[in-house]
């Protein structure tokens, strides 16, 4: 089971490489402001994800207009993609089980 923050960071990085603040914005947008990662949570997660090999730091600067020398950009790795996919499958499985008992909308 993946921590929620890790899962959301993986989702945010699935489409493009982002820097820290962009990840926070992307997650907040996607969850309609329900999940606002704090700087501490974000970078602690990032540190662990780097260690686990889910993401890597990248030297490419995809958005030069708001580039800042200090900014670090992160890219999802194949392992990160596989992990996110595995977690999505697990969550879908859970929803299917709930549906079978009539606890969630939609058909079993």
């Amino acid at each position: 089971m993946l921590p929620v923050a890790t899962y959301h960071i993986l989702l945010a990085l699935a489409a493009e490489d982002l820097h820290g603040y962009a990840i926070i914005q992307e997650v907040a947008m996607r969850t309609d402001g329900e999940l606002t990662l704090s700087a501490g949570t974000l970078y602690r997660s990032i540190q662990r994800m780097l260690e686990q090999g889910y993401i890597v730091e990248t030297r490419d600067r995809p958005a030069p207009e708001d580039d800042d020398e200090r900014r670090r950009y992160y890219r999802i790795t194949p392992l990160g993609i596989a992990t996110a996919r595995e977690e999505a499958r697990r969550l879908a499985q859970l929803v299917r089980m709930a549906r079978a008992k009539g606890l969630a909308p939609g058909k079993a």
Partner: protein, 865 residues
């Protein structure tokens, strides 16, 4: 933003270095995006718990990471890990065990409320700094004093208890009504004594200990109001004391009201009371002592004959631990500290060697960006983990060792149970473990942490020299010093023990069985009753196969009662305590001297013919003659008269000296009287109640037959304290032998650890210098040159450790001179033995490294580079 920077300081440095800038940027963007002062404030308020929480988590992450790394490293070097853990376990175990006993006896407050205000009051004479009080002096002093909130007295009294089961001997105390309130204790059920109980016409009352209540009365609360018989007199049970209350000794099972007839106050020199007082609030010990001395001086003037030389002293209640027990325990703690010191030095050395061996690895990690802070953290995690595992193991060692140390607790300590590893001790062990871990972890950290980061990569791994070597040598020297101190101390104490055990007690203990037959009063108050008892028992016992002789005495030497001295008057003068002429009083049955093997040097032993209607006679000891008739021709001592125990006696014999008070004490004057030459119901405390039998068969085997004989003569008489006289003598030095065994074990541990330390240091040096040695050999160095190069180190280490070691050992010996029984702290044999042992240790420790150095193959050594 400065405030946010400060907050970020809670993060580990490595994390801050890596992500601090990013986090600041994120926070700045947030602030910029925040609209209005309220949302900015909310942002700030939210940031504080957020940073603290996450910083804590990051620290845990690092710890987790370091622990996993450490475990991986240790698994790769299991030999190192096991050695380190065992060394810590020994050090912590020894120290924790020593602390738990010392804490129990010396530090922990006694289990009474307000223990710091409890004091003991003693009489003081020129011969005795602490002397029991006479009832009369106690009563007068108490009435005159103002410094006490309360003061009570007690004396020890054992009794034969008859209840539902067979008769039983119970140890108890007779206490005045104000003693329990002085101690501040309440009964578990029932009531404590009140003043009415102390009046001589009141009915007998008794309070049970928790243990007696549980074992003999089934813990039945209905026991209050029941009757029990003590020495044939009915007593009403009025209360039960709580389980923890053990006073005055842990064996006390029963308390009786202390009551005196008016006659008890007549003799001011009848000293048998112990006094316990509680100082008033705000009264210091010195004030109390000063007032009591004044009062004693006043009564000395009023009763010059009896009290002329009697002063008073007041001591803290918890100061009552005998000086010898105190010293034994302090010596033990010092020894334990030595062991811990050696363990720490050894570990620091092990870790240093390891850190030097790991320089490449550490340098690589640094080069990969690990940073100094992460390095230090990792090294500290490693040493703390080792210390933690070792500490846990050490506590286990202590738990097992503490019961063995029970003998070091003085038997008079008024407290329940025995020392154990409890919360206090655990906290101590935890603190010790942390300090140990930090202490020995610090050495490599200081070395490695202070180094230029890339040095390890650039240099070859061989260069461990210079400063590091000096530190490691210093640690080994410290180990040698500590083991010399331990070896010498253990040696001195062993010599002392042997000296004491070799002392002649004045009797021959082998083949003698002893036991107590507490003849109760009033049943045995009349001589005729006693005579009948003794003669029937003695006749039957002497008829047993193997029995050589048997006899009764008031109190056996080295037994529980080691006092009993009475004033002596010579040349027809009146007895006067102020003269300070005393001797032990013992009544014996004929056969006692032969049974114990006490030599009769002059005249004859006591005989059956020394009856009440004949001339009152006495056998005195040689020390008696030496003290009271120093200038008299020894051959004319027999026939001399003196007054003792209320009558004039004529000397019929001189017996060899017996060490009544213990092997460590000098023999004091002794007087033996015939058991028949005493008035009925007089001096009842000294009725012969201790029984001794000498046999050619193993004495233990006689016990059942003797019990049967006594039960036949008086079925209501309990038999207690059955022991061989050899055991009694051994018990006299038991706490010493326990301490010596512990100290010896410590010394052996220290010896082995220091040996390992030397071995480690030299092996490391040899492996580091293998190349140099190879070059030397290639250049034509002879084996003897290599030998002197390696062994020379070892000799330098030995000498620089031995010299201060011996100086310190001498100082340690001086501080425990009171324990040494006359053995000099500079005892040549001991010092020589210790020095030799350390040399042997040096030799063994350097043997393998030296052999390895000699076997270095020049070609391989040079090629490895």
């Amino acid at each position: 933003m400065r405030a946010y920077n400060l907050l970020l300081r809670f993060y580990p440095k490595s994390f801050r270095y890596e992500y601090g800038g990013e986090m600041r940027a994120v926070f700045a963007r947030r602030l910029r995006d925040a609209t209005g002062p309220f949302s900015a404030m909310a942002l700030w308020l939210g940031a504080i718990p957020e940073v603290l929480g996450n910083a804590g988590l990051v620290h845990l992450d690092l710890l987790d990471q370091d622990l996993r790394y450490t475990l991986r490293m240790l698994r790769r070097a299991p030999g190192f890990a096991v050695t380190a853990v065992l060394i810590v376990a020994l050090g912590i175990g020894a120290t924790t065990a020593a602390f738990s006993v010392a804490d129990f006896v010396l530090i922990r407050p006694l289990p009474f409320p307000g223990p710091e205000r409890l004091v003991r009051v003693w009489e003081r004479t020129s011969d005795y700094s602490r002397f029991e009080l006479s009832p009369a002096n106690f009563r007068d002093w108490k009435a005159a004093s103002t410094v006490f909130e309360r003061i009570g007295m007690y004396h020890l009294v054992s009794a034969n208890m008859l209840g539902a089961n067979e008769p039983m001997r119970v140890d108890g105390a007779a206490v005045s009504a104000d003693l329990f309130p002085t101690l501040g204790v309440q009964p578990l059920i029932g009531r404590i004594f009140v003043d009415e109980d102390d009046r001589s016409e009141a009915g007998g009352t008794a309070i049970l200990s928790y243990r007696l209540w549980q074992t003999r009365f089934g813990g039945d609360p209905g026991v209050i109001g029941q009757q029990l018989s003590l020495d044939g007199t009915a007593h009403t049970i009025i209360g039960v004391m709580p389980r923890e209350f053990r006073f005055p000794t842990p064996d006390t099972q029963l308390w009786r009201a202390l009551r005196f007839a008016e006659e008890a106050y007549v003799d001011r020199n009848d000293n048998w009371m112990y006094a316990v007082g509680r100082l008033r609030d705000g009264v210091s010990l010195d004030q109390a002592r000063a007032e009591m001395e004044l009062i004693a001086a006043r009564f000395a003037r009023q009763y010059p004959k009896e009290n002329g030389k009697v002063s008073a002293t007041v001591v803290r209640f918890d100061d009552d631990v005998p000086q010898q027990s105190r010293l034994l325990l302090i010596a033990l703690c010092g020894a334990a500290a030595c062991v811990l010191l050696i363990a720490c030095a050894n570990l620091a050395n092990l870790l240093l060697a390891r850190a030097l061996g790991r320089r490449r690895e550490l340098a690589v990690r640094t080069a990969m960006g690990a940073g100094r802070e992460r390095m230090i953290r990792q090294l500290m995690t490693e040493s703390l983990l080792l210390a933690g595992i070792g500490g846990a193991l050490g506590v286990a060692v202590a738990v097992m060792a503490v019961p063995l140390l029970n003998r070091l607790v003085p038997a008079t300590l008024p407290t329940a149970s025995a020392p154990a590893v409890d919360i206090r001790v655990l906290v101590f062990a935890l603190g010790l473990t942390a300090i140990t871990g930090i202490a020995f972890g610090l050495a490599p950290v200081l070395r490695i942490g202070g180094e230029a980061d890339l040095g390890g990569l650039r240099e070859s791994s061989r260069a461990g020299g210079g400063q590091k070597e000096r530190l490691r040598s210093a640690l080994v020297v410290a180990e040698i010093i500590a083991s010399v101190v331990l070896l010498v101390s253990a040696g001195l104490l062993m010599r002392a023990l042997l000296t004491i055990q070799a002392r002649d007690p004045g009797f021959r203990p082998e083949g003698v069985l002893t036991l107590q037959t507490p003849l109760p009063i009033p049943k045995y108050g009349k001589l005729a009753t006693r005579e009948a008892f003794y003669s029937r028992v003695l006749d039957d016992v002497r008829a047993l196969p193997g029995v050589i002789d048997a006899g009764f005495i008031s109190y056996l030497p080295l037994g529980r009662m080691r006092g009993g001295i009475w004033p002596v008057a010579l040349d027809g003068r009146e007895v006067n305590r102020a003269d300070n002429q005393n001797a032990f009083l013992r009544y014996v049955t004929p056969g006692y001297f032969a049974t114990l093997g006490i030599a009769i040097r002059q005249g004859r032993a006591l005989a059956d013919s020394d009856a009440r209607d004949r001339q009152f006679v006495a056998v005195v000891s040689e020390s008696f003659v030496k003290r009271y008739w120093p200038d008299v021709d020894p051959n004319t001592v027999v026939g001399r008269h003196f007054t003792f125990a209320f009558a004039e006696r004529v000397v019929v014999g001189v017996a060899g000296d017996v060490r009544m008070r213990g092997l460590e004490r000098q023999a004091e004057p002794q007087v033996y009287l015939s058991y028949k030459q005493v008035d009925d119901d007089s001096i009842i405390g000294y009725i012969p109640r201790s029984f001794a039998v000498r046999s050619t068969t193993p004495p233990e085997a006689l016990a059942p037959s003797i019990r049967a004989i006594i039960a036949r003569v008086d079925p209501s008489l309990p038999v207690s304290e059955v022991a061989t006289l050899t055991d009694v003598v051994d018990r006299d030095t038991a706490s010493r032998s326990v301490q010596l065994r512990v100290l010896g074990a410590f010394a052996v541990i220290a010896f082995v650890l220091a040996g390992i330390g030397i071995h480690g240091l030299l092996s490391f040096a040899v492996s580091q210098r293998a190349q140099e040695i190879g070059v030397r050999i290639a250049l034509g160095a002879k084996p003897s040159d290599i030998l002197s190069m390696v062994a020379g180190r070892s000799v330098v280490l030995a000498v620089s450790g031995q010299v201060p070691g011996i100086a310190l050992a001498y100082a340690a010996g001086r501080s425990m001179e009171a324990l040494l029984a006359g053995v000099k702290p500079a005892d040549a044999t001991t010092l020589a033995a210790a020095v030799t042992l350390v040399l042997v240790m040096m030799f063994l420790g350097s043997l393998f490294p030296t052999l390895r150095a000699l076997r270095v193959d020049p070609l391989t050594a040079i090629r490895t580079e």
